[in-house]
Symmetry: C2
Subunit: 218 residues, 2 copies
């Protein structure tokens, strides 16, 4: 029995990884403002986190700071981009050309943060062939070839909840590895597929727990 047969993919706690994009986003903002050096304390104040947490998170990946001075903003940005593998542009496909799909396909903020929507799909004949910006909406049957052509690993799922599970299975079958799901359901997927969810109602319901009840009716 070879205890190294499965390479240890990452001992980094997922919760640490989940904070890195937040750090990067704020560092890019500082960089754009012309800030050259920052500290864990300044970052912590901007993000509502403790300085110790930020230092500890970063220490999983190396030593990026200098005692007495802090962190060079541009350098730390670069390092985080490498760690997160966003020092390049990832192709993303989008399924669902409704209002939400349009909003996502038209959003110009993806590219400079490492992502580009390269194809859009829908199953509505009325939408197939129409264009969103420079992209032509294709039939969902064209997903597998597009995934292969662009070597795409990431998909956005912006279809109604009733169709989401089925489309997710098509995506996985086509070779997609990670799905960002806007449908308000929990997908059932194989363990090697990563799914992240965006459902605004989940956030609303989290908020209302802490609010004084104040409703319109019923």
């Amino acid at each position: 029995m070879n205890h190294l047969s499965t390479p240890v993919l990452s001992q980094i706690p997922d919760i640490v990884v989940s904070r890195l994009p937040i750090y990067l986003r704020t560092l890019r903002l500082l960089k754009d403002q012309g800030v050259e050096v920052t500290s864990s304390q300044e970052l912590g104040e901007l993000l509502g986190l403790s300085s110790a947490q930020i230092r500890k998170d970063l220490s999983h990946f190396g030593e990026f700071g200098k005692q007495g001075t802090g962190y060079n903003v541009a350098y730390l940005c670069n390092q985080l981009e490498k760690i997160l593998k966003v020092d390049c542009v990832w192709p993303v496909i989008l399924v669902g050309a409704g209002y939400l799909g349009h909003a996502l396909a038209s959003y110009t903020g993806f590219e400079h943060r490492g992502f580009r929507i390269v194809a859009v799909f829908d199953n509505d004949p009325a939408k197939i062939g129409s264009t969103i910006g420079a992209i032509t909406v294709q039939a969902v049957e064209a997903i597998p070839s597009a995934v292969k052509q662009h070597r795409c690993q990431i998909a956005i799922l912006a279809v109604p909840a009733s169709a989401a599970q089925q489309v997710a299975e098509q995506l996985i079958e086509a070779g997609i590895k990670s799905i960002l799901c806007y449908a308000p359901i929990t997908l059932t997927v194989p363990p090697h597929i990563r799914v992240e969810y965006i459902d605004p109602v989940i956030y609303f319901q989290h908020m209302t727990f802490y609010l004084e009840k104040g409703c319109i009716e019923e």
Copy 2:
């Protein structure tokens, strides 16, 4: 020194509260499918969580199940809706009438889960006066009166990052208590204001950490 001077708002861990909306969403789905009874194990399998975690989470709020049988789906839905205070409809205002704002204002899935967008605002004169469904876009100056009129505590922020902080301050000034922020920045707000963030790029960058690097270009 009166140890009860500040009423203990909630000893419930926030991480427990954050899972309740997920439970509710899945229970509603089961209910719609005609399922009358479920178990912590079934729920756990649907959600990718352990049955013990679900039982323990629920136990913070009462005893909702029956040994040997499990949980009555309709009853547990009802209880969770009460706990989360979504056994009614909350008014929500939306700032930002771009593509995203349109998608949100047109989305029909809010109402039956406890939320209704009652007003939309933008600062673009070209958009003010236009309508989205039954709602007329108003100038941001009208926010305070709308918040008062609807007794609104929740706002969606769907404006560009460059405007988000300033608009957030206007919302708080107007009496908004919780903000769902779609702008890719971290807002600076007083401690009694709750902000939740939705930035798809954060999820993408979380995904790419675990993917094999595969990019279009530098």
